[in-house]
């Protein structure tokens, strides 16, 4: 069974049993033509080139040298760090993605009410997402500082002696999870947009039927929002697994490789250790893993994602 058939058969997409219309197909290709052009012009060659380079030894400075499967062999059998870094990246993602989805949703629902100061609250919650890069990294370094940081100073008020956070093998991952959670407001506008798409007459009808607040959340809001939640899940997987900047600036993978996320390890090989070929192999293994995970998640979609536009044919 081909990949495409697998995806199709597993649902996740619309049920495509109907016949295709020629005009519609032509229009579709016309509409996606910019993407196709961009893919062929700018994306395809770099992707293929990196795949090819994964079979070479290449230090960037001199011509590459063909080594067959040596990079992949090293990755799976002799170098313990790729699997270590993949493991901590997965652990981090398993904690971070669900927390961000749930908190993002709750905040969006609170900020989708008619209250005074809505614009101000929304802006405040969005602030951390606006602020990026170095300033945030330095800000959090100060917050997590073990002996004079904001967090441990606050904990001391409650009589708790906080851990060394970024200086601790155990606490460095929770610290990054907390840091990501702080900027959860970034996803808020996506949820808000999703909430806007829910027709208000659904709620009115439910109210007339006597449904209470919780019932409305579970029978209307969540199902109607499921395409948005699905989006957050998929992009959450793709981008959370690629966590890089925080650890690059703040801990450089430490202490004792406890925050050596996969992409940081890959980066080191590519731009610090003159091993671009090995980095390419690391990248393609990662790519295939994420792709597989995405396809599986798409396959689960038919059980829990509700698309209004696709519901008619299913009935």
């Amino acid at each position: 069974m081909s990949l495409a058939q697998f995806v199709k058969n597993q649902g996740g997409f619309a049920n495509v049993s109907i016949s295709y219309k020629r005009g519609e197909t032509l229009l579709a290709w016309a509409m996606i033509s910019p993407w196709v052009a961009g893919f062929l012009l700018l994306t395809a060659f770099p992707m293929v080139a990196s795949l090819a380079l994964s079979f070479y030894k290449w230090n960037i400075l001199s011509p590459p040298e063909y080594v067959g499967l040596a990079n992949y062999h090293k990755l799976f059998f002799s170098d313990p760090l790729p699997m270590h870094s993949l493991k901590i990246t997965v652990i981090f993602s398993l904690a971070s993605i669900p927390l961000n989805i749930v908190f993002g949703l709750v905040i969006a629902m609170l900020l989708n009410t008619n209250i005074r100061g809505l614009a101000v609250f929304r802006t405040i919650y969005y602030l951390p997402a606006i602020l990026s890069g170095v300033a945030v990294a330095i800000l959090w370094q100060w917050i997590f500082s073990s002996d004079f940081g904001l967090l441990n100073t606050a904990l001391r008020i409650f009589g708790i002696e906080g851990p060394a956070w970024l200086g601790s093998k155990i606490w460095v991952l929770p610290a990054f999870v907390i840091m990501r959670l702080w900027s959860v407001g970034g996803g808020m506008i996506i949820y808000l947009a999703g909430l806007q798409a829910i027709p208000t007459d659904l709620y009115e009808a439910a109210e007339i039927d006597g449904a209470n607040w919780w019932q409305r959340i579970f029978s209307i809001t969540l199902p109607m929002l499921s395409p948005t939640i699905f989006f957050q899940l998929i992009t959450g997987v793709i981008f959370t697994m690629q966590i890089f900047t925080e650890t690059f600036i703040m801990t450089d993978g430490g202490p004792a490789n406890a925050s050596l996320f996969y992409l940081l390890y890959l980066y080191r090989q590519a731009f610090q250790n003159f091993k671009m070929g090995y980095a390419s192999a690391l990248a393609w293994v990662f790519f295939l893993a994420i792709l597989l995970l995405t396809i599986i998640l798409f396959a689960t979609a038919k059980f829990w994602v509700y698309y209004e536009a696709e519901s008619e044919e299913d009935n």
Binding site: A4, S50, T200, L291, T294
Partner: protein, 282 residues
């Protein structure tokens, strides 16, 4: 909404208070670190790490702002950034919605497989595609121009294509069919029905796109050489020096660079996303 009563019941009041309380607690958690940034930006360098932290600096140095901002040609960086950001935003709005429409509301063979390909382009770490991509742009004689920064946006961004696709899929198909019966073309449906109905999500795309390109550090770093073409994000990154960091200047510049984004968001969010009334009462 007719079902809404005139007065508020005790339950409604409690739920309102609860919403406010939750929002206020969250706001404090978010604002406290930011307050440190503000207060740091106004301190002399030697007072940055006073302990316990000063909520407001004992000695306020307003000059930190002009001092930090005149160290680099930030006006030039601002103009460059605006130019790049606006062109990227336009491209991403227009092209991504076109592509997303084809992937959600039209039916054609290979649609779902190709969509996975679209998503897949986000999954390969950029570290390994950077050099080949740089070589492509070199072949196109576009190094040290804004083209490598702008052009990709006009070929559709997978993140926004996916977001818009999800949103378009929530619209009922009946509307399209009614419009087609009224003599509207399929493209007309996209332009006259789907897009106007998608104002909130287009707003989200616009905000995201603006913010992303505003803050993007990596691509300008790689593709620009001439310092006159640098962007705000590059200017900001300068302050993380090789030999030590001027914390107060860094914070001052970060806050100033962030300000236009805050203003854009404050006004844009209201325009695109109205508050609705279904939660938090009864």
């Amino acid at each position: 909404m007719s079902s809404r009563g005139v007065g508020l019941s005790a339950r409604q009041i409690i739920s309102k208070i609860l919403v406010y309380a939750l929002l206020a607690i969250g706001s404090i958690v978010i604002l406290l670190p930011l307050q440190w940034m503000i207060s740091t930006s106004l301190k002399p360098l030697s007072h940055v790490f006073r302990f316990p932290p000063e909520f407001w600096p004992q000695q306020v140095v307003w000059e930190n702002y002009p001092n930090a901002l005149t160290q680099l040609p930030f006006d030039r960086y601002f103009a460059n950034t605006m130019f790049i950001v606006i062109l990227c935003l336009l491209g991403e709005l227009i092209v991504s919605s076109l592509v997303a429409y084809a992937f959600s509301r039209l039916r054609w063979r290979g649609r779902n497989t190709l969509f996975i390909v679209v998503l897949a382009t986000m999954m390969l770490p950029r570290q390994v595609t950077l050099i080949p991509e740089f070589i492509v742009f070199k072949q196109l004689s576009m190094i040290d121009t804004f083209w490598p920064l702008i052009l990709p946006s006009w070929f559709g961004n997978p993140f926004y294509i996916f977001l818009l696709r999800q949103y378009f899929l929530t619209h009922s198909r009946e509307l399209d069919q009614a419009a087609v019966i009224d003599g509207c073309s399929r493209f007309g449906v996209f332009w006259r029905i789907t897009l106007p109905m998608s104002k909130p999500v287009l707003g989200a795309v616009a905000i995201f796109s603006f913010q992303f390109h505003w803050n993007d550090f990596f691509r300008p770093l790689i593709f620009l050489l001439d310092q006159d073409k640098y962007t705000l994000a590059l200017g900001l990154r300068f302050f993380q020096g090789t030999y030590g960091t001027e914390w107060n200047s860094l914070m001052a510049v970060s806050l100033v660079v962030m300000l236009p984004l805050i203003i854009v968001f404050f006004f844009a969010q209201k325009h695109f996303i109205q508050g609705v009334v279904f939660t938090g009462y009864k």
